[in-house]
Amino acid sequence: MDDYSKLSNNKLWKSLKEFHNEDDVLKMKHDEFLDGVTDEFDSSKLSGISRRKFFALLSASAALTATACTNYRDKGEIIPYNKRPEEILPGAANYYASTCNGCSLSCGILIKTREGRPIKVEGNPDHPVSRGKICAKGQASILDLYDPERLKAPYFNGKETSWKNVDSTVINILNETQKNGKQIAIVTDTIVSPTAKKVLDDFTAKYQNTKIYSYSLVNDFIRRQAWSECYGTDEYPAVKFDDANIILTLDADFLGNEGNYIENMRKYVSKREVVDKLNFNRLYAAEGRMSSTGMMADYRLKVAPSQQLNFVLGIIYELNKINPHLQLDKSISARLKKFSLLDSADGEKFKHLIKDLNDNRGKSIIYAGDSLSKDVHLAVNYLNEVLGNTILYDYKSSFKNIVKHSTKEEITSLINSMNQGKVGIIIHYESNPVYTMPKDFGYESALKNVKTVISLTVSENESSAYANYTLPTNHSFEAWGDAYAREGFYSLQQPVISPIFNSRQKESVLLSWISANPNSYQEDIYHQYLMKSFNSDVFVKANSLADAKTFWYSALHDGIVRKNGTRQITRFNNIVLNNIKEIIPGNNFIVHLTESYFVGDGRFANNGWLQELPHPVSKITWDNYASISPITAKQLNVQMNDFIEVSLDGRKLVLPALIQPGVHERTINIELGYGRTKAGEVGKNVGFNSVELMTKNWVYSPFLFENASIRKSEGSHKLVSTQEHHSLDDTFVKDFHYSRKIIQEGTLEKYIKEPNFLNEEKENLVSITNEIKYTGHKWAMAIDLNKCTGCSACISSCNVENNIAVVGKEQVERGREMQWIRIDRYYSGQPDNPIVSNQPMLCQHCDNAPCENVCPVNATNHSPDGLNQMVYNRCVGTRYCSNNCPYKVRRFNFFNHRDHFADAYYDNDLTSLMYNPEVTVRSRGVMEKCTFCVQKIMEARSNAIRDGKELKGSDVVTACQQACPTNAITFGDANDPASQIAKLRKHNLSYHVLEELNVKPNVTYIAKLRNTHSEEK
């Protein structure tokens, strides 16, 4: 009971103690607060921090913690224009006309700038010669502007200095040298700018001991010399290849890199027309190496470069035989004889050639290469005279020669003076003679005897290594200039960005030295000079109604000013024929040095894009090599990549061999421009320096040497190509491009007889799924294989437009190059003289794209206007799409290539300025591929919407299409029946690659027709 009573007191109990009402529990219940809690507190014992201070500290630490946790990186600031420059509209590109400085051809360019920074170079359509096209080098030259290794300030003996110091000391030295009677030598590259020439003349006038030397590694010196002997002027005319029915080239890569090849290509393909009209020329190429032109030739004759004179004389002999009416000069008829080629395997082709030349008198042209001897040029000039082909010479557009190339004697005397201490100053005026001059000149050692060496250069090179003063000059996109490369027009170059570094325009540097006042330098000093010179030389003569200022601005806007070309035709001087020295070619090897297709004479060595462009024929990247014939390789027991030693009178070069089908058995072709030792991180020690093989005492020409001996050397060097080299005679893999219908070709004759020959075997493919109908626009491309010369301008243009990464040699070797478009090259026929087929290959944007259905995350899918799209954000990188692509045109970022290549060479704030802001820069682990320049489609679409017009297919010009010098690429809306692309898709010669897979590609190829005789198979 007792318990129950207690229970009533404590209905709820927490412990047995409580239940039993023990004492301490009762006490605790009584004292509501524990001991001490209710005591008064002593403020002196408390912390001294005030309440305000406590809150301040609390909030400060909270703020600090919050900031520390935000992972804040300074990403720079984006500030809108406070006051927008008049000409800049954010998001819209501006184009400025200018002149390309990449070589002496001076093509017209349009530089595309976005928010003040140049991002792309395109051809200037108003330019009378290049007509909106530029080559691969020109396209990629923008990378040089943003080269992180450009000189950033003037240097004196390796130490940074100021321009003011440089100016004052150099002016003193110049005056002193002048006083001492010592020579001031300016060594320059080929100069095409009349105003620069004027500056040099002014300089010479001021410092009268000045001598100007013009020297360039690759030049047309011999052609000019021969022309001058035949016709009394060294300004040789352009050739109207577009009027020629028969073209015979003698070791002349006129479609590759000789003459104005952009112009040549355009003119050549004007007679390779299959679409609107059938209009064909016939190209014969007689060459020892395998060149771009050789790849295009209808008939390719293998002639060693040393035999070319005999070959020409042989042609004249045969012509004379079938056509006795030819009025031959006595001196020539005396030495005519049968050419041995007639009896060789190429005899049949030779007969065709003779007949064609005879039937097309006045409508054919024989064109000799720049590297052939003067005698060949003389004989060729004569042969063109005899055949009446001189009417194809275009004197209105002849090649100007503003500063003559220095002769061997001039350079030798300079070097002698240097060695004797008679030269006080050498100025390398944007030139690199240490690299480009043959070593037996002894320029390099002579430089040590010159007290003051000044290098005016954009970035360090072999010559600036010897310079006391290394002075940075503006890149051509930061510089004013002009060019007078061809009769008939004058072109202007304008800066499109202010100098990025502390560099100066090279002409301005000279001008401030001319003024002899170190304080006279103004940034626009050359700009003013150029305008003045323009006024006096161009404006005054133009008889324009406009005032000088308007005229200047309109010239600047157009980039060119047309002039009336003076037509000087002089008679052929028969006496020169007596000068032709007959050299009986020996049976030794001939070394033929040619300019690199993409790094030129070495000036583009530090341009990763150009180093990585596959060679048009061999597809080798990042190297040069000795190109030898399969027979020679067998004789020497040399495999691909093996080192061979080439020796020429004691000059030796060890370099890897490339077995190149089609090369003459006794010809060794090596490219110049490689093996630079001081060219920046990218360019140094790439390839082998074949200048080592050159000599000042040449017999044929500076680029051609007989009596070479070659032998197998120790070791090998891996040559890396983007296309495997399959042995041509390996029946296992032979002619797949034909049997798989990758390449479809025919002869002109067959096409005329049966226009539908290509479609006869075509099967009707049935789809088992419902086809998606494209009702609006449907983007498509057509590539005319009759016109593709493999020049690679499209690849270069695409690289720039689409921010394609450079991956480097090791990655190309691993098969990880990133170029979105490639040019596939297939050989067929015999390995000693193969038939070559080129095919640009890019994403085919298939209607039934096999890549799309296998992507697990839908990162690649189809747009309603027929594009195969890549969503980079969504891509996880399974690479399944690439595996399932029959064309293997997808490219995977195996690394963050910008970070991976050459120690993050192109991953810096400067190079990042170059990126096209409209195209995502892809990160590692992401698949990418050709987008049909979707950013350009979007731009055209928004323009159409803005203007309230319907978007037309022709409004969109893809980067490759824009660049193609032969207009082989057509892009447009296949659903527009009036469009060119719709027409091409229905053309008799159109086909798709791997049609039988029924993936329905949207890139149509127009089959190549070869203009051969029907007997030939």
């Binding site: 290959m841 996880v876 590692r924």
Partner: protein, 455 residues
Amino acid sequence: MSTVDYTRELSVLEGKPPLRELDDLISKPLETKPNRKFFIALSITLSMTALLVIGLGLTFYYGIGMWGNNIPVGWAWDITNFVFWIGIGHAGTLISAILFLFRQKWRTGIARFAEGMTIFAVMTAGLFPLIHVGRPWLAGYLFPYPSQNSIWVNFTSPLLWDVFAVSTYLTVSLIFWYVGLIPDLATLREKTTNKIKKIIYSVTSLGWRFSNRHWQHYEMVYLILAGFATPLVLSVHTIVSFDFAVSVIPGWHSTIFPPYFVAGAVFSGFAMVQNVLIIVRKIFNYEHIITVDTLEKMNKVMLLTGSMVGYAYAMEFFIAWYGGVEAERFTFLNRALGPYAWAYWIMVTCNVVSPQLFWIKKIRRSIKTMFVIAIFVNIGMWFERFVIIVSSLSRDFLPSSWHHYTPTYVDGMILIGSFGFFFTWILLFAKALPVVSMAEVKAVVEGSQPSHKDH
């Protein structure tokens, strides 16, 4: 030789061990402290796993470029390893599910271990789809989850089917394995004196009390799960084969792939189980539980599946010729004669020729020879996947894009590491759980089942 009496069921176990002894023997590794040998073995496998970790570290830090993969060979050792390990994972479920349904009692000695191997092999295989992607941190995109971008996965992609197939297979195998473990865990609970172990076994045995009702439910669940797992054995590798068969690439685009892949998977799975069991029975003295008779039966399965694989190889060639597609013809000629011919002939020798030796009874019953042959089979099956993937991709339609594939050291590290990963799990398993099903083995001891003859 005496004639076999087919009217009498052969004993699965050798001798007639007392049931208690079986329990003790099987649980012995769990009750003893790991010895030196165990630690040596573990240190080897862990070192190999470290290679995997380093290899993956390099891959994640720098990118897939650390491997030899290229364009056109987008997949190489990564997917070779994936298919190889998935294949290894096929024996377990086949043994425990299909053979269970067929009432093959000889499976009892090996089923538990094979199932364990399945799980570990699938876990190893499962690494590869995740690590082979260029951006593994986004691998979650492969799962269909509602996202604010309303982007859904692509259900037409075989790679997505893989995700479902493999994860389903792993889940079902895991459940199946666990259900089988329950009675054994209860036995262990009863046996152990260690407090912690007791708690763990009590929890994991889910209150099993060996009651008749429990056994009835257990048998039913096991049967249902076996029925559920059986189609998976066929479907998983079928779907893996779709990765290739659905594509357009010659050498991949082939309708023979599903049965051919399943046969190959069972083939390689049995070889791996046989290999590992030979070691296990030796170390743990299970010779009378995992008998030579059992191993011989496994060899017979290998002989059958090996011949099926050989038939498939021949049929691929025949169809390539008969189909008349030039590119496909070349692909197969190229396999046998091209730059990867060495890999092809390793594959043929190991997979087709070597198991044919199992026709000979002596070889079939010799532990040493069967061990070597099974190793050959494993090598051959790895090469089969390599040949299919790499030789087809390296030379596909356009000769211009052909490119040779050469592996890098990171590829090697990942391959070795995957073995390390797998065997680490195996070692831990052998020490932590009964590798032979006590309950099932006890049920097949002679005389343990009621029989009318003895009465």
